[in-house]
């Protein structure tokens, strides 16, 4: 069951699907331009967070039509005059310092970089369905050659206000990605960089279960509920609690997905609980958040849900600071995040995969984005991954110089990403992105024992994003 290097490289490429951005159908429903709810996509403002908490149901324009009921006491029916459909297209061109072979294995010998048009095409059905129910339903076509579910949720929300103005918003949702229902961009499904090339080595960095599941990359479905308590002067203090249980969703990929260097994963045993708590405070042009999250996933090592299981226990802390200029002409948002994972490889090693009994993996990132006039933007961030060396997970030399494996079996990786953005319009963005690796899979030079240095993975990417 151990994957060969090219298959492994390919498999991990599929792991991350770029998260979603601003949804034009939301703008059609509210009449607000994207920048009321977003700084740069998909980064939310406090108003955007409230819109999400309220179940995407806020509507201003007369887009809903109430069909007249002739029979009394029958449940009402409101339908959208224009279905809340949106399209998102991404294209990219990427150049890797060490040459294409670095990322594409033996197949990538053109030496001309990777151009993808489209890199992704996404269709959304996003907006209000009833007074209390809204959807963020998202399917994406990627270079895997097929349409698949991308991060989505459907939610029901209601709120209650006390005479002093404090407000309790509560909701129930179904989703397919842990942290997708979240409100801040410091969690895996929404963290920066908001878009990368499908061929970016950034996507191959060892990642925890929660990160691997970003962009609906794990075939799981979650059922959850959330509470947001808004209190204090102007309801500027927010407490957010969310709890979900995830379970393998049959139908997509029949319960399989790849971990970096790990065996093919099977379905979850019973359910995998996820918990989230966060606090936000708003103060005129500033707002900040601190939060914690945790997930406990017990997973069968193969697609057959029999026998013993492996267990991934994730715990994370995150924070976000946001500055929104009074006239809206400048914004700055910074995120920090740290996730610690304990990987308990308890499953019967009969599958031919023998990791350490227990591994730990930590990932962390710090990044910030600045945007002026909603037109020019820049972002800078540093990322880290470190953990127990484990040749079974991070690979021993294979003899293929292009193999994405570590000679010393270490996951340790770090580097920085720098990005420049130009928004031709609020729904048309061009990005030039550069990622440089200081360390890749355990070393700066000759990390795979075949002469590859970390900097061979440095990548320059030009990205285009359109949404309509």
């Amino acid at each position: 069951m151990i994957l060969t290097a090219p298959a492994l490289a390919l498999a991990t490429l599929f792991a991350f699907v770029t998260p979603a951005h601003a949804i034009p159908s939301f703008a059609r429903q509210t009449g607000w331009s994207c920048s009321v709810c977003h700084t740069i996509y998909p980064q939310l403002t406090p108003i955007g967070r409230l819109f999400k908490l309220e179940g995407y149901t806020t509507a201003n324009l007369a887009g809903m039509q109430e069909l007249k009921q002739k029979i009394r006491r029958m449940a009402p029916l409101e339908l959208n005059r224009v279905p809340p459909l949106s399209v998102m297209i991404q294209a990219s061109a990427a150049w890797i310092q060490g040459g294409d072979a670095n990322q594409f294995g033996s197949g990538g010998t053109t030496g001309q970089g990777a151009v993808e048009f489209p890199e992704q095409v996404s269709f959304f059905y996003a907006g209000r369905v009833t007074r209390n129910i809204g959807t963020f339903f998202h399917v994406t076509y990627t270079h895997t050659g097929a349409f698949g579910m991308d991060d989505s949720d459907i939610r029901w929300a209601e709120h209650q206000t006390e005479p002093d103005g404090s407000t309790l918003i509560y909701g129930a949702e179904i989703n397919n990605t842990p942290t997708e229902p979240d409100l801040w961009n410091s969690v895996p499904d929404w963290n920066w960089p908001f878009a990368t090339s499908n061929y970016s080595p950034l996507r191959d960095i060892p990642a925890t279960y929660i990160q691997q599941a970003a962009g609906a990359s794990e075939p799981i479905a979650g059922l959850g509920g959330y509470l947001a308590y808004l209190f204090g002067p102007g309801e500027s203090h927010w407490l957010y609690l969310e709890a979900d249980v995830y379970r393998s969703a049959v139908g997509i990929g029949s319960g399989t997905d790849q971990f970096f260097g790990a065996a093919t994963l099977g379905p979850t045993r019973n359910v995998a609980p996820y918990l989230r708590v966060a606090y936000e405070q708003n103060d005129e042009e500033w707002n900040w958040e601190v939060g914690a999250l945790g997930m406990d996933a017990t997973i069968y090592p193969t697609t057959a849900a029999i026998g013993s299981t492996d267990r991934f226990l994730d715990f994370g802390l995150d924070g976000q600071v946001q500055y929104l200029d009074l006239t809206g002409n400048q914004s700055f948002t910074a995120h920090v995040s740290w996730i610690h994972e304990t990987e308990d490889w308890q499953a019967d090693p009969a599958v031919g995969f023998k990791p350490n009994p227990v591994d730990t993996l930590d990932t962390a990132s710090i990044n910030g984005q600045y945007l002026v006039n909603r037109r020019y933007g820049a972002g800078l961030g540093y990322f880290w991954a470190w953990g127990t060396p484990d040749p079974a997970l991070y690979g021993a030399a294979t003899g293929n110089p292009a193999a994405l494996v570590s000679a010393n079996g270490s996951p340790d990786t770090n580097g920085l990403t720098l990005e420049l953005n130009y928004l031709e319009a609020q729904n048309a963005e061009f990005t030039l992105q550069y990622s440089a690796f200081n360390k890749y899979l355990g070393a700066s030079s000759n990390y795979n024992g075949q002469g590859q240095s970390a900097s061979n993975n440095n990548i320059l990417t030009l990205l285009m994003w359109l949404a309509f």
Binding site: G31, N60, L61, A62, T161, T167, P233, G234, L324, G328
Partner: protein, 209 residues
């Protein structure tokens, strides 16, 4: 067929007996109208005392007829300064005249927003507010907005308003991008104010209760 009613009987009884008690109890503040909680609160806050951002105005204790006037001006497009267009045009289109009356009544009857601390420019601002600037043809603001800037009728309350919102509106009046029905009055005043004087007077107004 009778049974549901029978089951309701004790409940009805309870309601009737409870009614005199509740009416005798001290009057609790009424609940905000639904519109406030499905829209306005997201930006202006439920009581209008502490909006989400500095460029969103405080509505608490604002003159009721001014709120009505402004919502209609957003709705018919006559108040068309950029933030008004971006944020309030869509919101106001969803409002019927009755909604407008309800939300205006709600915000006008809220306690005034807490005054903001004084800054280094407060003193100079106070002079402009009380005396105007004679040599620049700027009348005393208090002559229309009231001695405490509490507003009345078409004259908006300015006391305790956000500094940045006040400055921005003065700039909009000056440049003429805010040109709703009564904006001419302010245009003729704002054209005589420098940016610095706008900040001075705004920093004074925000300290008033």
């Amino acid at each position: 067929m009778q049974r549901p009613l029978l089951q309701l009987a004790p409940l009805l009884l309870l309601l009737f007996t409870a009614a005199p008690i509740t009416s005798a109890a001290p009057r609790t503040p009424p609940k905000p109208p639904a519109r406030v909680m499905t829209s306005c609160y997201m930006c202006h806050s439920t009581h209008g005392d502490d909006p989400r951002f500095g460029y969103i105005p405080r509505l608490a204790h604002q003159s009721e007829s001014y709120i009505v006037e402004q919502l209609k001006a957003f709705r018919d497009g006559s108040r068309s300064d950029p933030p008004g267009e971006m944020y309030m045009w869509p919101v106001s289109q969803a409002l019927s005249n009755r909604d407008i009356d309800l939300v205006a009544d709600w915000y006008a009857s809220q306690p005034p927003p807490p005054p903001q601390p004084a800054g280094p420019l407060t003193q100079a601002g106070s002079r402009i507010f009380h005396d105007g600037i004679l040599k620049q043809d700027v009348p005393a603001c208090m002559s229309c907005h009231g001695p405490e800037a509490a507003g009345n009728g078409i004259f908006p309350r300015l006391a305790g308003q956000n500094v940045e919102y006040l400055i921005e509106q003065l700039r909009f009046f000056k440049s003429g991008v805010r040109h709703d029905k009564n904006a001419d009055i302010m245009h003729s005043i704002a054209i005589h104010l420098t940016d610095h004087e706008m900040r001075e007077v705004a920093e004074y107004l925000t300290t008033l209760h």
